[in-house]
Symmetry: C2
Subunit: 411 residues, 2 copies
């Protein structure tokens, strides 16, 4: 089916999805979870085709690992869907209802966004994840996954369709685009007439392409050039623990630390201890810092703009918290930044001055995550300021409308 035809069909069922009760939505989500587990062998069969093609095409090991599905991973996907089913449904809540002087009662009612498109890479778990979050909030989903996961995505969407149809609903509530060409993606991004929101999930290149080309409102997600500033008064052990955690606990994630900013007065004590602690990490340091390190390379200006997603860390020396804030605001991607300090004044300056989705005092940047924030789910981490910022839970997939109760008011 053509991209535009698919988008039209998706839009045509958006009021069907929006009208579902919480019970209906939850029952269907539990049924999808169960059906995924009982169809595991079909899904694994489909996944094998993707894996074979991926190996033949020379896909890197990391991507193959993200692509691979087995019984345990499918159980994990099903469990994720059950968790979404168990969350409170935000749709229908009315807030800020108040009475105007003329007697009109005006309130905001939480409603679905409508049709949500998600463009992502070859990670079949995202297929089920995104459907669950969008469906729970009464939205229609249009999935445009990477072509390397086509068979796996198709098998998962088949299960979802089966359950939707068994429950008397239109399968178009979960639409998968079968055109996986670049032209197809480019066309999809222009369907503002049919799609209310577009979320790219993937690497920096994918996100840039969506942001540049879409005419649909986009939420930019994911890129994280996260900093940790070690202030003069920092507790050294705490700083080392946090940096080790933020840099090395998982290197490929957007909330991992990529750059260290260090107060010049503690360089000589702190840097040797840091090097001792981060043995697996290559350090790229500025002029002041490099002389105190045994194995560091000189940092270029490029290093300070780089999200390594690797065992690499850049190091910048600053005179004070103001310089740290200016350096971070210049180089960051608006994701997560942390200060390690004992100073009340500097903690507050950092919290006020840093322009990012999440600003930490004395904690690891790795906590920037929908589950860690208590949302019970996550559709991504927004690095823009419009609509949603930081980890996005179910609320980010909703909008509101004003409802107004009158009894004949005119102006």
């Amino acid at each position: 089916m053509s991209v535009i035809e698919s988008c039209k069909k998706a839009k045509a069922v958006k009021y069907e999805a929006a009208a579902l009760s919480t019970d209906q939505k939850n029952n269907i989500l539990y049924a999808v979870a169960n059906e995924l587990v009982s169809s595991a062998s079909d899904i694994i069969e489909a996944n094998k085709k993707d894996m074979e093609k991926g190996r033949a095409n020379g896909l890197p090991e990391g991507l193959l690992d993200r692509l691979m599905l087995d019984a345990k991973r499918i159980e994990g996907i099903a469990e994720g869907i059950r968790q979404v089913a168990a969350l409170p449904d935000p749709i229908g809540e009315v807030s800020n209802m108040s009475r105007r002087p003329n007697g009109l009662m005006i309130g905001q009612k939480r409603v679905p966004m409508g049709v949500i498109g998600v463009i992502y890479e070859a990670r079949p778990n995202v297929t089920a994840d995104v459907f669950a979050l969008c469906f729970k909030t009464g939205n229609v989903t249009i999935l445009r996954g990477g072509k390397d996961a086509f068979e796996s995505n198709f098998a998962i969407v088949n299960v979802i369709h089966k359950v939707l149809i068994e429950n008397g609903l239109s399968e178009d509530i979960c639409t998968m685009l079968t055109d996986t060409t670049h032209e197809g993606a480019a066309l999809f991004m222009k369907q503002r007439e049919y799609v209310d929101l577009l979320i790219p999930r993937g690497g920096a290149g994918l996100i840039r392409s969506v942001v540049e080309n879409a005419n649909i409102p986009v939420i930019e997600t994911g890129t994280g050039n996260c900093h940790i500033f070690v202030d003069e008064s920092a507790d050294m052990d705490m700083a080392l623990d946090i940096i080790e955690n933020a840099k090395t606990q998982r290197i490929g994630v957007c909330n991992a630390a990529e750059s260290l900013v260090v107060h010049e007065n503690i360089l000589d004590k702190f840097l040797p201890a840091l090097e001792e602690r981060l043995k697996k990490v290559s350090l790229f340091a500025d002029e002041k810092a490099i002389s105190l390190l045994k194995n560091a390379s000189p940092a270029s200006e490029d290093d300070f703009y780089t999200e390594y997603l690797d065992y690499k860390l850049s190091i910048k020396t600053v005179k004070n918290v103001e310089e740290a804030i200016a350096h971070i605001n210049e180089h960051n991607t608006g994701h997560s930044e942390s200060i390690i300090t004992k100073s009340y004044e500097n903690a507050n300056k950092f919290l006020d001055g840093i322009d990012a989705a999440c600003v930490y005092v004395n904690a690891s940047t790795r906590f920037t995550d929908g589950f860690e924030f208590g949302f019970g789910a996550e559709i991504g981490i927004s690095t823009q300021k419009l609509h949603a910022r930081g980890p996005m839970g179910l609320l980010a997939l909703t909008s509101y409308k004003y409802i107004i109760y009158g009894n004949g008011q005119i102006r």
Copy 2:
């Protein structure tokens, strides 16, 4: 100065604007209001040049009227700025602060959007208005007004610059683009690197062009193909009062009614009374309705999609509330819709089923307005679902960041 240079300079001062205290911002707004009044003769002089050029270029009377400034209108503009100064400052408020199981305290802090660009037509009052709203919320403003108001806008921005400089601030906090070509506007819309939010204020053509061409996040505003549905059980007098108000109180505004949807069972009683009441209004009616009207023309499918902004009204007959909802959702622009009914069930169906920013029961659509909603200000009326929907007050010009207090937490 080139568009890009202006955008760079604006971005360079965004932390200066964000750091201002509420008192500083309010004092400057009051000073701008006073200075506008005391510079009225200079502004009127500049406006005369625009008016002369406008007349020579054959600008329609309506546009000339919106362009014209006199002492009374400048006092009105100043009063608007004072009202914004008197509003509560949303910046800095922390909400939803809660403690996670690991002891992290996580809350959302209200922050400015950053740099806000506004593209608008030849209405010099918008220049002062937009600056006041953006400045009150700690944002930098980039103004791109219509070329027909260039001299007037320049004079107003000069006053703002004078006050900013007198208060030790950078004049770039209020930047006016001097390139008023179409190419300049097209270039401006692509400056995502420097501009955080773009708001078009003007006619449907301007808004469409911004939505199609911008890579900056946009809030779509303004177009209103608003409907009133007269249900079978409607109080006829109330319906006539509301329709007369919504259609004729001001015809050129986006919250004016453009289309009537009538229950088929009341056509014969209601339509003659309507025609009697709306003597100045040309009616465009469907087949069932037209036979009951003396002077109506047949409505084409195009009529039902048209925002007339004129003494014209389309009329559609429906069998029931479900058909009314479907017709409205198909033809509306997501602005404001009203049902006139005595039925509890149908009122609720309408409130649930209509997809629009503002859904009314028994009231005029003309109330869709930031002042009528009690926001004390309005930057526009959003017809999209992302970020802000309906009348936008100060909050729509802000974002939030998560602030997280830890004491050494790692994952």
